[in-house]
């Protein structure tokens, strides 16, 4: 899932500037389960904004809405009739949702209230870790199911490096060495041979180095849209 983190109230107040009427728009998918921008966070932030702006002497009118997914036209289109009444929409979706709102409703200003941080998962209550960098060329079949692109600080394809000490990364002792994890899992599975082949340099053109990416599935497209 996409993991987000809400911006500070000070930063959000700065972004909103002198707006009088604001719609806080949450998203019911990834940012809901990372507790950054779901219905509950929308309610809390809206309340904070109302109180803070009142204390600062320019009370804002703040409304709340949460859609199931802010990154799909079908879910945000129903918002269209009411958007004209707001000076600003503060989106608590990920960066995709914020851009979808701006693209679909070009006459409204949608600002981000959340920092989109990474693709990852909750490893325990309250802790999320990065697991994927969407590099476009998955190598998990070669690395015992553990991604060195997302989890090795140097994104090495042939590790570990000399900075791996006692199973942790030299960058930060809180980061387990991904290549240590890969090796240990391969040994446990009796598949050390997976790691004997030297991997050539990665084709980064399938990642961001090739520019913004796009997938076209003709089998899924509707005839009148071709």
């Amino acid at each position: 899932m996409i993991v987000g983190e809400q911006k500070t109230l000070d930063e959000i107040m700065g972004l909103l500037g002198d707006a009088h009427k604001v719609l806080v728009a949450g998203c019911g998918t990834c940012v809901t389960v990372s507790f950054a921008g779901g219905e509950k966070e929308v309610g809390i932030l809206a309340s904070q904004l109302r109180m803070r702006s009142k204390l600062e002497g320019h009370p804002m009118e703040v409304d709340e809405v949460t859609v199931q997914r802010q990154c799909e036209w079908e879910y945000i289109d129903p918002l269209a009739p009411r958007l004209g009444e707001y000076d600003v929409i503060l989106s608590l979706a990920c960066g995709i949702g914020v851009q979808a709102m701006n693209e679909r409703f070009p006459d409204s200003i949608t600002l981000p209230g959340v920092n989109t941080v990474f693709l990852g998962m909750p490893v325990e209550q309250g802790i999320w870790e990065e697991r994927c960098q969407a590099c476009g060329d998955c190598i998990l079949g070669l690395t015992a199911g553990i991604c060195p692109i997302a989890r090795c600080s140097k994104q090495l394809l042939n590790g570990p490096c000399g900075g791996s000490q006692n199973g942790v990364c030299e960058v930060n002792p809180d980061i387990p060495c991904a290549w240590q994890l890969i090796w240990e899992r391969a040994v446990k599975l009796g598949r050390e041979e997976w790691l004997l082949e030297i991997q050539p340099p990665k084709d980064w053109s399938k990642s961001r180095d090739g520019g913004p990416r796009k997938i076209v599935r003709d089998d899924l497209r509707l005839a009148d849209m071709e």
Binding site: K40, G43, I44, S47, Q48, R50, M51
Partner: protein, 68 residues
């Protein structure tokens, strides 16, 4: 707050099984408490959400107590 006559408005969310029962007992024993205190009975203090606490502050209370 420096006003000696200031009486804060306090909203108390009280668990049905303990704090609310205690308040009920206090009433039965004719023990007075300040008029600024308002009690809402909840089935469990774990039921109280942050949004409800903020809602109370937005509507002018000076303090919120969650008792359970």
């Amino acid at each position: 707050m420096s006003d000696p006559n200031f009486e804060p408005k306090i909203l108390a969310f009280c668990c049905r099984h303990c704090a609310y029962a205690a308040a009920d007992l206090a009433g039965g024993m004719r023990i007075p408490y300040p008029t600024g205190l308002r009690i809402i009975e909840v089935p469990c203090s774990g039921r109280v959400e942050v949004t409800e606490v903020l809602h109370a502050f937005e509507h002018g209370v000076d303090g919120v107590m969650v008792a359970g």
